[in-house]
Amino acid sequence: MSGTLNSSTTVGMEGRQATAPMKESCEHQADCLKRIQAILDGGATDEEKEHFKQHIEICKPCIDMYHLEKCIKEALQGKVEKKCCPEKIAAAIRTEITK
């Protein structure tokens, strides 16, 4: 399995509902959260990706965690203002190195 999971991966309740019952509580929440973060960061191991795929569609708390983590990451990426370097600083650096 080398398919990468990206933000377009569908995570929802549709997939497996017919075959497996949805879990309402998760006994490995802390581990699952770490795994979910690694998935979203693009740093998950193959084993973690596999576990995530098996687990994510059948566990309600994990689905919720996934959405929250993804949403926070997107807010940090997209909403928090990125400060730009004042032009005078860039100019001062250019002058300084040619001295």
Partner: protein
């Protein structure tokens, strides 16, 4: 100095001519100046300190340019210098409000592994979606600097765990666990913030 071929191979790092130094500097280093400034600003939380930190870092980078291998990750290389300059020169005098000793925080969180398992924020993703950038930024700014740093590097700058490990001089496992703790803290802050602002008023 002997004439260098126009295209240098990886093994010819050591002897940049002056002209090549400027070329590398302008082509590889300067394009990252806004990211560097943003990082400096988020670390120091002060525009003047950020200006100084970015200048110092770029001048250091120029001075040590011969140890930069062309074709390798310039952004990570620069971020590492900036982070080290911050720790050595700015951290003590930084105007950070509630200064929390990182070791204390890390110890608290480590000793709290059991509680961590129970760490479920009832923060809803819709609440976060409704927040504006400044609200998220102030939650981020309220984190101790080491936790803030990993979130900036990972979520704002998009560095990989491996790059972060190099920038911070810590193992990848530590990067991951620090990020995990940082995010738990951030969620607590976001939740506090949401409560104080009257978000989460309760569902339909």
């Amino acid at each position: 100095m002997t004439t260098m071929p126009e295209i240098m191979s990886d093994t010819q790092l050591q002897g940049y001519t002056d002209e090549q130094k400027y070329q590398v500097f302008n082509k590889e280093f300067m394009p990252h100046i806004d990211s560097m400034y943003n990082f400096a600003f988020r670390l120091t939380m002060d525009e003047d300190d950020a200006n100084d930190l970015v200048q110092d870092t770029y001048l250091k980078a120029f001075r040590f340019i011969s140890s930069f291998e062309q074709g390798t990750n310039a952004k990570a290389w620069l971020f590492r210098i900036l982070k080290n300059s911050f720790i050595n020169d700015y951290r003590k005098k930084s105007k950070e409000p509630a200064k929390v000793d990182y070791q204390d925080v890390e110890t608290t969180y480590n000793s709290d592994e059991a509680a961590e398992t129970e760490h479920t924020t009832d923060l809803r993703f819709e609440t976060v979606q409704d927040m504006i950038g400044d609200e998220v930024a102030s939650a981020l700014n309220s984190l101790p600097v080491d936790f803030r740093t990993v979130i900036i590097l990972c979520d704002i700058e998009g560095f990989t765990y491996e790059e972060m490990a190099k920038i911070l001089d810590i193992p990848i496992g530590t990067v991951r666990s620090r990020l995990h703790r940082a995010r738990n803290l951030l969620k607590d802050k976001l939740k506090e913030y949401a409560a104080s602002m009257g978000y989460n008023k309760n569902d339909e």
